[in-house]
């Protein structure tokens, strides 16, 4: 028994965090609201091997498992990395599909980075098939988080069957829930951190607003939710990596707790920022809106609670 990331996993994560803090600050996220995202952080992550963690070494990947990838996805969430890293690095890679940006509709009908993706992994008759960018039709969707560049996708070409195996598709969905849960924990932590900084500086009634007990308790609630979502995500990474019997249940639990932690953190972050946070000029909204989108991708809270209840009351 040892429940903590290894030295290697931590080093890999820290490298990603350094990279993202340099190359994917809020200004970079903002550019993705205006047009195509800056390709730099994505290609740096690619160069680091993040996109091919799950790809076997024989195929040019790192040949590692989800316990290496998940800590990095938390960092991608913290940075609100515009591209759908869970789709590419977690779901597509685990199905043996590589490409620079591979997106999928397995997590829901509204697909991110639809305009720049070079691969589309679409649900087809109980299996999944891969389509090139010129084999699909995009119906763009304006989402609250503009940096998602989302669309509904319809295949126009034949595609290449990736799997017909329903259990592989189900496993891919579990990985999508896990990856998104990791991003949400990072986002929750980021929203909390921004807010802790803000309430320490903002003065009202002659003192920092962070010294008011109501503000303290709001932020403590967010911290509590994050504290207990993190281990659930880590455990699900391990369960999936090990192929444990409980992998699906654990993925659902991770997504549920991460959803709720992100919801709590988003709520108190906005409230404690007050009017300053209620503008698109404040960076907070970049993270807030990403968290709203990810909460409902790869299954919302009700969906995952029902899956867990299904196991407990089977």
């Amino acid at each position: 028994m040892r429940f903590g990331w290894s030295e290697d996993q931590l080093a890999f994560r820290d490298a990603a965090r350094d990279l993202l803090s340099k190359e994917c600050g809020p200004d970079v996220v903002r550019t993705a609201w205006e047009g195509a995202p800056d390709p730099k952080p994505w290609s740096s992550l690619e160069a680091m091997g993040v996109l091919s963690v799950l790809v076997p070494e024989a195929d040019g990947g790192l040949g590692l498992d989800e316990t290496f990838l998940v800590p990095v996805l938390e960092e991608a969430g913290r940075a609100a990395l515009p591209q759908p890293i869970t789709d590419t690095a977690m779901v597509a890679a685990s199905l043996g599909v590589t490409g620079s940006v591979v997106v999928t509709d397995l997590g829901g009908p509204i697909v991110g980075s639809a305009d720049t993706a070079d691969g589309f992994l679409l649900a087809v008759d109980g299996g999944v098939a891969l389509f090139d960018a010129d084999q699909v039709e995009r119906e763009p969707v304006t989402t609250v988080d503009r940096s998602r560049h989302a669309a509904r996708i319809r295949a126009t070409g034949p595609g290449r069957t990736v799997t017909d195996d329903a259990s592989e598709v189900a496993a891919a969905r579990d990985r999508g829930a896990l990856g998104t849960a990791a991003e949400l924990v990072g986002l929750a932590d980021q929203m909390l951190a921004i807010t802790v900084d803000y309430v320490g500086e903002r003065q009202q009634f002659g003192k920092p607003i962070g010294s008011f007990q109501a503000v303290k308790h709001h932020l403590a609630n967010a911290r509590v939710a994050i504290e207990f979502a993190g281990p659930a995500v880590a455990r699900a990474a391990w369960s999936i990596a090990e192929g444990a019997d409980t992998a699906s249940r654990d993925a659902s639990m991770a997504k549920y707790l991460a959803n709720e932690a992100a919801a709590e953190s988003a709520k108190v972050a906005l409230q404690c920022h007050g009017a300053i946070g209620y503008t698109v000029e404040c960076d907070l909204h970049l993270y807030l809106k990403r968290s709203w989108a990810l909460r409902r991708l790869w299954g919302d809270s009700d969906h995952h609670v029902d899956r867990v209840a299904g196991v407990l009351f089977e």
């Binding site: 009202q204 709203w292 809270s301």
Partner: protein, 383 residues
């Protein structure tokens, strides 16, 4: 106790409903696609709507007819508001004037100010925005630092206001300015009425959470505000005595009564939404709970109006209402988001409503401040 409306009130309701149905249809066909009221083009559309409301005699139902009102009772106001929201009519671009400024004009204005300001407010000739918050004065309103210096024939204004709702589209601002430079906190402030085209006043619109330009910063740079820049004078109440105006406004009944029809209308839409997506039992339960809360707000408002008509006053109990409707609005929209599932992220009416609802616990005094008020002034806990 008698919860039946009179035949006359029923007739009022029918008249309002019919007028709204007809005029909304006409207005909608006139404007084409309806735009957000927090954009320049949307405001232009809504000015047409305000004009209709005023011409139809529905702009300010409870005001005396001499100021452009209908001379209606609070009951008629409540009935009209219920019909207004039920019909899906747009949020009023005149609301900051009508809801926040007008009660103070009624109470503190000179006859000349009333005669001039109120009809122009009712007819949307003047569009008023509120100049209270400043970059360093949000919850702590008494800390405002924008200054007005007395000079011959007027005032020199300096400083900055911000988070001014629809400031970029308004013609006038009512605001608090520090006129006694030696003063601190709530003393030495004056309530001034400022045309936004005054030289030295600059307005910069900026995006609210939903991206619409619903907020503005207003900069005052040695701006000269002539005493007659507003007919009847630019000072409301007494010089250095704005705080008594602000406090009284919080206790007056006009405007501060939030119309419950708004939340009843949202809950009715929510029920339609959930029925249409075949919501499961727990969504239906959540919607029923939210509906009950909207209904309870309606009932509490009936109770408050009865009490006002009996000679009571609203006082700090308005903080109870503010907590309730603001948290209810979030609850209603959160259930809708959950019912929409993956589609919740689409930028449409429901997600706009969700984002707007999130401002409820922040504006008009955060809910943290409201809970302090409930504890200290309603329950009498030590400060």
């Amino acid at each position: 106790m008698d919860l039946n409306w009179t035949a006359e009130q029923d007739a009022n309701r029918a008249e309002a409903r019919q007028w709204l149905e007809l005029n909304l249809a006409e207005w909608r066909s006139e404007i084409g696609e309806q735009l957000s009221g927090d954009t320049a083009d949307g405001v232009a559309q809504q000015m047409l709507w305000e004009q209709r409301l005023f011409d139809g005699g529905w702009s300010v139902v409870s005001w005396p007819t001499e100021y452009g009102g209908r001379g209606g009772s609070l009951w008629e106001w409540l009935i009209f508001e219920a019909e207004y929201w039920r019909a899906g009519a747009p949020q009023r671009v005149t609301q900051n004037g009508i809801q926040i400024l007008s009660p103070s004009v009624f109470e503190f204005g000179t006859p000349e100010q009333k005669d001039h300001l109120l009809p122009r407010m009712a007819s949307a000739e003047d569009l008023w925005c509120q100049g209270w918050s400043e970059p360093n004065s949000g919850s702590d309103l008494a800390s405002v630092s924008s200054r007005a210096r007395r000079v011959d024939g007027g005032w020199i204004l300096d400083g900055q206001k911000t988070w001014t709702t629809r400031g970029a589209f308004c013609t006038h601002l009512f605001g608090l300015f520090r006129t006694d430079p030696e003063s601190s906190r709530h003393r030495g402030l004056t309530y001034l009425l400022v045309p936004l085209d005054t030289p030295g006043v600059t307005v910069r619109g900026f995006g609210r959470l939903d991206g619409d330009e619903g907020f503005a910063e207003v900069f005052f740079d040695e701006a000269f505000l002539a005493d007659d820049a507003v007919v009847g004078g630019v000072v409301l109440g007494e010089v250095d005595q704005a705080w008594s105006v602000v406090v009284a406004a919080a206790g007056t009944e006009r405007g501060l009564l939030r119309p419950p029809g708004r939340y009843l209308a949202t809950s009715a839409e929510l029920i339609r939404l959930i029925a249409s997506v075949d919501g499961d039992r727990s969504l239906r339960r959540r919607a029923a709970i939210a509906w009950m809360k909207a209904e309870a707000f309606d009932l509490q408002t009936l109770r408050v109006i009865t009490s006002l008509l009996d000679g009571g006053d609203l006082g700090s109990e308005s903080s109870l209402s503010k907590i309730w409707w603001s948290e209810l609005d979030i609850e209603l929209h959160a259930i809708a988001m959950d019912a929409l599932g993956a589609a919740a992220e689409i930028d449409d009416e429901w997600s706009k409503g969700w984002q707007f609802a999130l401002s409820g616990p922040i504006y008009a005094g955060t809910n943290e401040i409201q809970r302090n008020i409930v504890a200290e002034r309603v329950l009498g806990l030590p400060r």
